[in-house]
Structure formats: C-alpha cells, structure tokens
C-alpha cells in the first residue's frame, strides 16, 4: 500500500543550504504566547534540525499548534495573540522588524489540518506561490516547477492528466498532498505541518507519512500530531506538550522508550489524552 509513492530522488545540490553543519535550522527560546489574559504557551525551548523531522505531541489544547503557528508568524493574524521570546531562523530573529513576514512565510511553508486547496485548478494551486514570488521566468519554467512539486508530493501520476480540474475535486488525501505540493513549490527551507493527517483515512495517512519520509533531508520538517504512533513512525525528535508547557524534548526513540518525565510516561502509555 505504502509503496504506491515512489519518492523522487532529491537533487540536493540545487539549493544552497545556509545553515552551518550541526547548527539547528530554527531555534525557539522561552517562547510565550498569550491570548488576552490567558497564557497558552509558558516558555518553550526547541531546536528544529535540518535533516530531522520534529514531532510535537500532546493532548488537545496543550499549545502545540499555537507553537507551530509561531514559527511562521501565522499568529499575527489573531489580533489578541501576543508572542514573546525569541525564535530564530538561521540565527535571525523572525520577530524582528527587519524580518519581512511575507519572506518568512515563503521560507517557512505550512500545511494545515484540514486540506485547504484554493478553489482553482490543480495547476493554479501549485503555481500560485511561485507566481507571487516571481520564482519562474516564463511559462515553461513555471510548468517545470509545478511538475517537480507535484512529483515530490507524489501526486504527479494521479494529477498530470487533469491539471486543469479544480483542486477541490480531488479526494481528501489527494487534496492534502496538493497542499504539500503547493507548500514546496516556493522551495521553502522549513515545512510546518499542523496535524496533516487528522482529516484523512488510514491509506491516505500512510501516503502522507511516506511523503514526509521522502521529503526529510531536503526540508526541515516540524509536525504536530495527535497520533503517537505517527510521531514514532515519522519523527526523529519529539517534543511533548502539556497544558502550555513543553514537558520534554528529545530523540523520538528515547521519548517513547525511556521518558524522563512521569507526565510523558503517563501520556504515551495512554493514562490521559
């Protein structure tokens, strides 16, 4: 079932990686978020590495999605949200006035919980990002970007004959892969995924997970998930959130087999959640 997606060989030489070897791609230090009086995140320290998938797990309302949305400043759209602390992308503070938010979101792409393709054709969905950022000179180059992105998202074979069909006409799993293709079409450095499989059936979920494996190494990936098995399957690092605190952060293998904290132990063994 899973082998239906053939990962495209990644041409790593294409991108110039600006991160020094061994340094994390993104670092978050003492990140706090409050909505009005309510504090949703109480000081989070996390590193996101280039060649790793970092999973954020925890019960509902623990702040893991809030934290993810800090990483590309999507919380800016919520007027009541206030973010403090420092988040750096390659050593640059993303909340500083010198960081352009449009530029940041192009470098840090996002895939949302519910598949949200634009009500336009499949081609237009993928081409939109490159077009507004001026990444392609001419139609041929744009076609190439669209094809490459759809191939990387494992959607090319299913979509190549119907590029002019509406993106909303695809199945749920295909829509989510289209959203991933749309995110990688602007060639980001980091991809944030906010529970990308929670609206999908197991087969579509397996395809997305396979895709995350294939994309690892090319993009730094951070994924929020409810599903602990999924975190164990796809990630190398895991952070456990509980009630707005980051309880534990470490290698996935250690978190799942030998957690330091009692609360982590209780959560992963199903005591609460």
């Amino acid at each position: 079932m899973i082998d239906t997606i053939v990962p495209t060989p990644l041409d790593v030489a294409e991108t110039v990686d600006s991160t020094p070897a061994g340094e994390p791609k993104m670092t978050a230090r003492d990140v706090r978020v409050s909505y009005g009086d309510k504090e949703a995140l109480k000081g989070v320290d996390i590193d996101i590495h280039n060649d790793k998938v970092t999973a954020f797990i925890g019960p509902s309302g623990c702040g893991k999605s809030t934290f993810l949305r800090c990483l590309n400043r999507m919380n800016d759209t919520i007027p009541a949200a206030r973010v403090t602390g420092t988040i750096e992308l390659d050593g640059e503070n993303i909340n500083s006035p010198r960081m352009d938010v449009v530029h940041l979101r192009a470098r840090v792409g996002m895939v949302f919980q519910k598949p949200n393709p634009f009500p336009k054709s499949i081609y237009e969905n993928v081409a939109y990002g490159p077009r507004i950022h001026g990444l392609a000179q001419g139609k041929a180059e744009l076609d190439e970007i669209v094809e490459k992105s759809l191939r990387r998202a494992g959607l090319w074979d299913e979509a190549k004959d119907r590029l002019e069909d509406s993106g909303t006409a695809l199945s749920g799993g295909q829509q989510q892969r289209l959203c991933i293709a749309r995110a990688i079409a602007v060639d980001p450095e980091v991809i944030l995924m906010d529970e990308p499989c929670s609206a999908l059936d197991p087969i579509a979920t397996a395809k997305i997970e396979e895709l995350i494996h294939a994309l690892r190494g090319r993009y730094a990936i951070a994924i929020v998930t409810h599903n602990m098995q999924q975190a164990a399957r796809v990630s190398q690092c895991t952070a456990f959130f509980h009630l707005g605190e980051m309880v534990e952060y470490g290698k996935t293998s250690e978190i799942f087999t030998n957690p330091r904290e009692q609360r982590t132990q209780d959560y992963i063994t199903g005591r609460y959640g």
Binding site: R105, P119, Y128, I132, T168, R182, A185
Partner: protein
C-alpha cells in the same frame, strides 16, 4: 467509558421518574402522533402563506397587464383629405429641405385635419383627432410630398379622448360616433420612443427610461466601487476598536434611514451647496448612491465574512501579502454575494421616487436627456406624475409604464441570478 456514562444517566432517569420509560404502551404513540400533527399544521400554514403571497402577486400582475396592455396600442381612424381643395398653403419644395419640420409646423395641419374630419364625420368630428395625428400627417408629407397633389385616405391616430372611447371607457357620445366609424387597433411605437407630453396620445416613456438608465449608471459607478472597497477595508484591514464599531453602527443605521431624508440631503448638499444642475441624472445618481452604498457595504461584508478562513490561511501560508490574499482569493470568492447584494440595492434605487422628487426630478421634461447633466425624469417619478393626471388617457399609460418598470427590474434581477451562478465557486 461512554457506555458507563449512558447506563448511569439511564439509572438516574428511572430513579427520578420512579418507573422505566415504556415505549410500547400507547402513550408514546400518542406523543408521536401529536408531533406529526404539529408538523402537518406547520406545513399547511407555510403553504397557505406562500399561496397567499403568490396570489397577491398574480393579482397585481394580471390587473397591471390587463390595464396596461392598452397603453401600448393606439386607435387609428381612416380620414379622407383632399389636399388640393383644402386651405393648406404648403409648397412641396419646402418639404425636402432642412427646414421641412418648420414648414410643416407653420402650415396649420391641425386645421386641415379638423376640417376634413368635420366634413367626413359630421359636427363632432374634430374631437376624433389630436396632436398625434398632426404629427403623423407631417411625417407622412415629408416622406411623400406627392400626397399634396391628391385626395388621399390616411389611417391617422385618434385623439386621446377618442382612443379612450374606442377602448370602451370614455364619453358616450364619442363612443356612439366611433361605433359607426371604421377604426383599428395598432401597436403604438410612439409610446416607446417619445417623452412626456400634455396630450396622452403622444406621450412616451423613452425620456424617463433614458433618465433612469443614466441615473442608475451614475449610482452604480459610485456606489459599487466605494461600497465594495469600504466593505473590504472594514472586514479585512481595519483594526477592531471603538471607531470601527462606531462606523459599523452608523452604516447599519444609514441603511435604515428613510429615502426622503437622503433626498433632503441631496437637495441641501448637491443643489444648494455644490450648485449642481437641478433635475439632472447626475444629482439623482449621487443621491441614490448615498442611499445604496450602505446596502452594498452590508451585503459585501457578509459575503466577505462567509469566505472560509482556511483559504486566507492557505494564501498567507505560501507567503502572500495581505493585499494579495484579499484581491486574489477573498474578493473572487465573495463576488457572487457582493453582486447579489449590489443588484438588490440597485433595484431598490431603481424604484425610488421620494428622494428624486426632492432634487427636482418631478419637473415636466418633454425631451430625453442628452447627458447626465441635463434635466431628466425617471420611470417611477414618471409613473407618479401620470397617475396624478386628469386626462383619462393617462390611466392606461400609467399601467403601461409600470409594466416597463417591472420588466426593467426583472431584467436586473435576472442579471443578478446569472452573475451569481456564473461566478459561484465551490470550495
């Protein structure tokens, strides 16, 4: 766990009632039957309400068409005119030049017609023909000056009195006279091509229709862009604070202000202060734009609000700027709703009379406006003016004008539905 909660609540229920619920002893069936009866009653009342409103509408339409259809026709009577023997002093050569209209006007054709009518139909014959016949005879003579050399029998439109009598609603003496005379009913193109007049046999709605068209154009050109941009700004860009709340309340209030007050405002601001031309479609359009804009803003904001936030997130997530999100994604998706609201607002403006009376559009205007700065009137005001006339001939003209107005509105609403379906996208 859920089954535990379930049995627990069941247990509590049976203890509080003191007995288990019995589903089969007949009391439940009675309860269900009552529920069905309530449903049937509701359906019946709903159907009755719909039937009532449809029958009112049908009654209105049928009476309108019944009365108004006659307004599109005229009565023609055949009249024998012996030009060589008449008193007419008209040089056929003058009819071909550029001054032909003046020559005809000065020739006294009305006297010729009256004399011929008296000669043919007796003493009351002069009553049978009016302004419309003079006008038509003039046109025929310019077309064919040869007629002046002969004795001819021409079909000429009857006077408004005779027309009313021929349609069975006028003076008994004229009705008797007409019963003996050969006459026919014809479609009256003058009604669609001419403007207001004192003689109901020569009036038309073209002037009012053109005035309406120009007024609506001005309204549309102002209210649509300003309204849509205001809605976009308020919904997507403006911060939520006391000022924007105040603006929102003011706009909602403006939408409910009686239209006559907008007319007074237009009179004070556009005519008295800005000195714009009186009775002009420009001023009418400005006044109606003030009235329509709040409606467009409210409809636009609702349409924009109903665009799912996930689309905004998606666009922001690939690095679109706020402006790109709004103009590439939100506006196209909100457009069907905005258009529907706009056209409903426009249709309301189209039927508006009171504010236009205030700015002088109730004047008697006998020539269609050439531009938005020239005096004009609009259809609803024309209907209002004609309904006030003493001449019986205006009764059916009023109904006919109402039919034209209704057709205009039907076309606009049809356009609204077409545009909505055309731009509707699913997500």
């Amino acid at each position: 766990m859920s089954s535990g909660a379930h049995s627990n609540s069941r247990g509590m229920e049976s203890t509080s009632l003191g007995r288990p619920t019995r589903w089969t002893d007949g009391s439940m069936e009675r309860l269900v039957a009552k529920r069905y009866a309530a449903e049937r009653r509701f359906k019946f009342f709903g159907l009755a309400a719909v039937t009532l409103s449809v029958s009112f509408l049908t009654f209105l339409l049928i009476t309108m068409v019944w009365k108004g259809a006659g307004g599109f026709t005229r009565t023609d009577i055949q009249l024998n005119i012996d030009f060589p023997r008449s008193d007419l002093m008209l040089d056929p050569a003058a009819l071909t030049g550029p001054e032909s209209a003046e020559a005809i006007g000065a020739a006294g054709l009305d006297t010729v017609i009256e004399q011929a009518a008296v000669a043919q139909f007796g003493a009351g014959g002069g009553e049978l023909f009016g302004g419309a016949s003079t006008r038509m005879l003039g046109e025929r003579l310019i077309e064919d000056p040869e007629l002046l050399q002969r004795r001819v029998a021409l079909w000429l439109p009857a006077s408004s009195k005779a027309d009313v009598a021929a349609k069975g609603d006028g003076d008994p003496i004229l009705e008797n006279m007409l019963a003996k005379i050969e006459h026919r009913r014809r479609f009256n193109p003058t009604f669609l091509t001419s403007s207001d007049a004192t003689d109901s046999s020569v009036v038309g709605i073209w002037g009012a229709l053109k005035g309406t068209f120009l007024t609506i154009l001005v309204t549309m050109a102002l209210a649509f862009p300003i309204g849509v941009l205001s809605a976009l700004y308020l919904e997507e860009f403006a911060p939520r604070n006391r000022w924007t709340d105040l603006i929102e309340v003011s706009i909602n209030n403006l939408a409910a202000v009686p239209s006559i007050i907008f007319g007074l405002l237009g009179l004070a601001v556009f005519l008295n202060f800005m000195d714009l031309p009186r009775s002009a479609p420009l001023v009418g359009g400005l006044t109606l734009a003030l009235m329509t804009m709040p409606v467009i803003v409210i409809a636009g904001r609702n349409a924009i609000k109903s665009v799912p936030p996930s689309i905004r997130d998606a666009a922001l997530g690939v690095g679109a700027s706020k402006m790109q999100v709004v103009f590439h994604h939100v506006l196209p998706l909100a457009l069907p709703g905005i258009l529907t609201g706009t056209i409903i607002g426009m249709a309301r403006a189209l039927g508006e009379t009171a504010p236009l009376l205030m700015i002088g559009m109730r004047a008697f205007i006998a020539t269609p406006p050439g531009s938005i700065a020239e005096p004009a009137t609009v259809l609803p005001v024309q209907i209002f003016l004609w309904s006030d006339e003493v001449d019986r001939g205006f009764v059916e003209k009023t109904s006919a004008a109402i039919i034209v107005l209704l057709i205009f509105m039907l076309l606009m609403n049809g356009l609204a539905i077409y545009l909505r379906n055309r731009f509707e996208q699913r997500w």
